[in-house]
Symmetry: C2
Subunit: 404 residues, 2 copies
């Protein structure tokens, strides 16, 4: 590595917004302001789109009050984008970085964003351009390699758990079959978090289907019938990304749109829920069958937030800047959980390529054998990340003797 | 009226659950426990279904701690039902009331529940059976006559406002057209509450469609195009109950199920949102169009609650019991807003028939002329009912000068 890096900083956000992505942004900006090596701080609007169009705002012109207000606000304060740079884009990005004297580049996002940072970093090395290049993790999907869990997951998981708590109470009050479709293309972590909603032994979700296990429509119908027969009701949590045994997403049979990463659009449509609901109506005699698709509420509902998630998101943003400035390194900051009974984490620099492209899935030990629920190991893993959930009261319910 | 009533009490919940319907239940139970005239307190499980099946729990056997825990829990603690009693049911209900020594009957619900209470009350008078019969208002739809607003509305409206705040931020970060389908069959109050989400001048929802105005698909497409052209994005709040100029619900063209009140099932399906989304995709060149249907989350999401709504729900439950016991009357307790600058309400007994059957709609003064937004008068009306919303931060955003 060359000597101590000095110059301007550029930071941008990418991919789907989250509840705490602004915590990472502000954590990085506040840390950067402490170091004389970092001159100007540019925020690119809408990720690499803003870099390519040279659409920057001056983040040193923002008051601490505004920075803190943005940190506490969901979604991406700088705007975001779903775009993967082409080889040509990369050349153009370099021209921009050079022209603006950018020597510190931070890109907050998921695996696609890590890949973008990786490509830019490789290009910088190839061109002998001194650039400190960091990926800061963010994804509600919780599917980044090297990370115990990712910033954004805890808060989205809290939304899902609360939603299922409410929905279970609703279903208990007005029985029937209720299907909740939850975000998660390939990784079922967020859907799995539905399990945290359970307080009493008969609480839903009674069935949980993740994309990590092949989804069989006939087994699904059998599962629902069994639960309904036992409890007179059934709450189902299902990932939008469930796929059949050939790996074909069930939702993709109804939806055709794809983005520039080649991903099928699964969210922002109620098609999967409606199709599962129709199947239950057709194959059973259950009168009341409903489906809700949680959609975008999961990732940006103000007020529903895991405090720990917010703290870690800020911490990982600040840690990336510290690493880049003080240790003159490149990489991705990962969250590692320390062994031991009580929950503790550390932030560790890992190579960009370790986080880029491929994702991780829900490990086998978190999924039950039948493939229709999660295990206690998953609940133990997720509970401290999500934090405290609202208390749920229930009547003791002493039955009144029948009067003849 | 006959002399002071003494005997057992029966209370039940009906219709769709809400965030605060248990506050009304517990408000009534705690008040009833103060009066020696009220002997046993029975809770019927699942509304009149529980009365007909004599499925009661003894609410005097519940600790104060449990009562308060249930009060703070969303959904209907006793369970609920969507069932309108037939003439035969009414006879059966009387037999039950008589057999169980019930002299105080409280039914918490919307206009259908008020009608049920009214039928039972009329029957009691006809049979010369001394019964204090009260309807306690509850509906997230806010459509009960005689009421300035109804318990449950404030909290559901807060959920909608928060959801739109988050969704607007999401849409601002990742631009496109976003359509949010909100509960409300004939009354658009809940959809109108989406307007409370606006903080900055360009904030969504940019268009609001209520069932009170005929919905024209071509005008909808024109409206969206206009907003998108101006802002590069568009957030739409639309009621599930929107209907064409012949009064045919747009959603009913896709959904066929009806309940025993003759209502088409509008919630628990994403069909309307998907159809509106498809229309925009077909008629414009906008690439990113998404729809979310908020579904049941609106009425039972733990933690998202208007404090004032919770207080009033409890107050109106307690007031009904006081009226019945102390003043020996029948009726429905209504929330009246007092004139004056600061927000104040009183609970007033009104005749059951005034609340039963017919509902009220969003008044004309709350809807803009074009029929695609609400007025400031609506925001002034709804804001104090919903209460404080989360703060939303935004960068000042001083643009960096282009470097040549």
């Amino acid at each position: 590595m060359a000597g101590k890096t000095t110059g301007n900083m550029l930071i941008a956000q990418s991919g789907g917004p989250s509840m705490v992505i602004n915590q990472s942004l502000i954590g990085a900006v506040i840390e950067a302001k402490k170091h004389a090596q970092v001159k100007k701080i540019f925020g690119a609007l809408h990720g690499i789109k803003g870099i390519l169009e040279e659409d920057f705002i001056d983040l040193k012109k923002e008051s601490l009050k505004t920075l803190e207000a943005v940190a506490a606000t969901p979604s991406s304060g700088l705007g975001t984008v779903r775009k993967k740079p082409t080889a040509e884009d990369c050349k153009a990005i370099f021209a921009v970085l050079h022209r603006y004297g950018v020597r510190f580049f931070f890109y907050i996002g998921g695996n696609d964003s890590a890949e973008t940072a990786h490509i830019i970093n490789e290009e910088a090395i190839r061109q002998g351009y001194q650039l400190r290049c960091f990926h800061i993790p963010k994804t509600i999907d919780n599917d980044l390699r090297e990370n115990d869990h990712t910033p954004g997951f805890g808060s989205a998981a809290k939304f899902v758990a609360c939603a299922l708590m409410g929905d279970n109470l609703d279903n208990r009050a007005l029985p029937g079959v209720k299907i909740d479709v939850i975000m998660g293309r390939h990784a079922g972590f967020l859907t799995a978090a539905a399990a945290l909603a359970r307080v009493y032994p008969d609480d839903g979700p009674h069935l949980i289907y993740l994309p990590e296990r092949a989804f069989s429509m006939s087994r699904f119908v059998r599962d629902v019938k069994r639960v309904y027969k036992k409890l007179g009701r059934c709450v189902v949590a299902v990932s939008e990304g469930i796929a059949d045994r050939n790996g074909i997403a069930i939702a993709s049979k109804f939806i055709e749109e794809v983005d520039s990463h080649g991903n099928v659009q699964l969210s922002g449509s109620g098609a999967l829920g409606d199709c599962l609901s129709a199947e239950i109506k057709a194959k059973t005699k259950i009168a009341r069958v409903r489906a809700d698709t949680f959609g975008y509420l999961q990732r940006s509902f103000p007020g529903v937030l895991s405090e720990r998630d917010a703290r870690e998101a800020r911490g990982v943003g600040a840690a990336a800047v510290k690493e880049a400035v003080k240790n003159n390194t490149n990489g991705s900051m990962a969250i590692k959980r320390l062994p031991g009974k009580s929950y503790r984490v550390k932030y560790k620099r890992v190579p960009l390529k370790n986080v880029a492209r491929e994702t991780k899935e829900v490990p086998a030990r978190f999924i039950n054998k039948a493939g229709n629920d999660v295990t206690k190991a998953f609940v133990d893993y997720a509970a401290p990340i999500v934090g405290k959930l609202p208390p749920i009261g229930r009547f003791k319910g002493v039955k009144v003797k029948t009067v003849k």
